[in-house]
Subunit: 406 residues, 2 copies
Amino acid sequence: MLHVKTPEEVLALIKQEFSAVAETERVSLAAAMGRVLAQDVAATEYVPDFDRSTVDGYAVRARDTFGCTDAIPAILPLQGEVLMGEGAEFELRPEECVAVPTGGAVPKGADSVVMIEYTEDYGDGTIGVSKSVAPGQNMIFRGDDVFPGKVILEKGRVLSSQDIGALAAIGCVQVPVVKKLTVGVISTGDELVPPEVTPGPGQVRDVNSPMLEAMLTAFGVNVINYGIVIDDEALLSEKVTKAVSQCDAVLLSGGSSVGVKDAACRIIESMGSLLLHGIAIKHGKPTILGRTGPKPLFCLPGHPVAAYFITKLFVLPTLSRLMGRQQESYTVTAKITESVSANHGRAQYHCCRLERRDGALYAYPIRGKSGLITTLAGADGYFCIHRDQEGLAQNAEIQVTVTAGD
Amino acid sequence: MLHVKTPEEVLALIKQEFSAVAETERVSLAAAMGRVLAQDVAATEYVPDFDRSTVDGYAVRARDTFGCTDAIPAILPLQGEVLMGEGAEFELRPEECVAVPTGGAVPKGADSVVMIEYTEDYGDGTIGVSKSVAPGQNMIFRGDDVFPGKVILEKGRVLSSQDIGALAAIGCVQVPVVKKLTVGVISTGDELVPPEVTPGPGQVRDVNSPMLEAMLTAFGVNVINYGIVIDDEALLSEKVTKAVSQCDAVLLSGGSSVGVKDAACRIIESMGSLLLHGIAIKHGKPTILGRTGPKPLFCLPGHPVAAYFITKLFVLPTLSRLMGRQQESYTVTAKITESVSANHGRAQYHCCRLERRDGALYAYPIRGKSGLITTLAGADGYFCIHRDQEGLAQNAEIQVTVTAGD
């Protein structure tokens, strides 16, 4: 018999039971945004591949400018000009200078660039320099940015737009990313009708399928929505078997009744093994997790709020394991606007709205009985009352995980 | 002559000059995730549309259970059973009870539900209740969640998965969202080659186009990438004119040289009006903003780091104005691991890595000369040293805007 586990125990179990299975594929830069990097990416070239000026001015040997002032400028013959996008094919002669644009190549022999603001073109083929420069000043040396072998992005990272820029810079235009997982979503419940249908007496719309589909898609997996199955063990078993054969993970949601939970346990046991039955968390206690081979099977609570939190807190971390995905989630500090009581002994999660007033951030807990969709709609984030806390007093500082947009 | 503006002045200018122009379209629930809601959404029905049990048990009149205990249970004849997904077509008779499953309809006449755990089925058609319930206990009343006319989501909101769930619950399956904007991206610079090309002498790869494309796409707009244009005013003017005719906003990036900036100013003035030339920010001072009709035209700095920050801090807020998009960005508190000096007089932005150690969050500033791509790669967020600050001391608490994944 499996006992109810704490959230920490569940996360440890997930870590122990599941590991990276996803394959690697190569996608274009434009398609790589938000994908999970499948291997470390190292540079194969120098960036920049030439010494480069960071200002408009004159490339010089720094020593030729030492001691110059407004009153006594260093006068250097102009040896030539470097054009943008072209190499500097010649070498700077001592006590001369070469005009270079911002981003232009600094010729051999030069070790610094004088900004044009501190020079005067005398019109006779010489340039007056009124401010000395130090070696290395106003230029980037070859390989300053990256050099061959330097790892610039690590495996497991979710690629951001900045990372895409870095990949472009080193010419990595076919990016090795983790192949997208496919996750199956099944809703069960005799009372459910699809969202587009007006519910009859005793019926409600299926909220979990579209919510989970949106959440999973935004997380970066493909979703197969198997729709609604009535509470019939044979039909359910058939649907789960089909989903397992087509997907890398399966989420069964609903089954608020004990009968369905029992059926889900039997189905999981017939296909693999049951790992978990019950999490000490409000809302979301009646959660079941099993596996068949490397594939996780979740049976989520039917209540949308509970299904939301279980997916956020445990399903997505499980998918992260399968993908080798490394991404921290961060919290923001806010003051809670009213006190919230808690049941000692289990972690309690609440949705909230966030509002900034007079420079401070306030969290408004969204009230409502379990399963009410309006406790989800319009939420900006959520917070947790830990199992050893009695509750939260008004104005207490809390840590909010921001969910706006995901 | 336009003077250099502070970031706050630029944001005020953007607010003043640009307003919502995007049209409304209706998309399916599955396509609505991450989109901007174009109008307030109100419920047109009651959810739930019937009184609903939140537990497995027996629907009763609460008063019929008052005073009952384990020793002296209330004995109530079982009048019948409500099945899941069906209406309760009968009315509960006084001093009787009706079996209801979790989520099932509570019959008229009943005002509460006794959990099955506190009952005993005597097998003779009567049920013993050993714990009293209060009116309203263990049930949700019709319209508790939402009722007709109740606004559940407000215009301008970026739809999250929770919101998708709420829309499903009220049957809003054709969601009114803001039509996606189209943004044109043009890179300019004689030294630029596309990322897939190995740079020749004096050349570097175009980093800004792919980076901006990724950033804008993740932000929820369509991007037309016009590629690289050489520094030639006539060609540039032609390309900008084409982009303006096809897009809602145009970003020209590059033009590190003064000549290109001047050309960009002339092009903008010939098509509309110049609003801004220079922002007091490191990096990103040489930024130009203009408009032609309702369309913004930005000329961004060529340095990737500068182009990144200007886009994040000013271009996306401009696009938000055009879309009527309302989304706060939040910061996390972290300790800075080393001191960072700053130039008094202008806001200074730095990328950083975040690391959690012993429960505390640390921000590692990413060092590097302006324009080096490795100051972007692998960043988890950024922080700002404000213009009136001298710099930051080691271990100072700073506010970091998390950018991982966007």
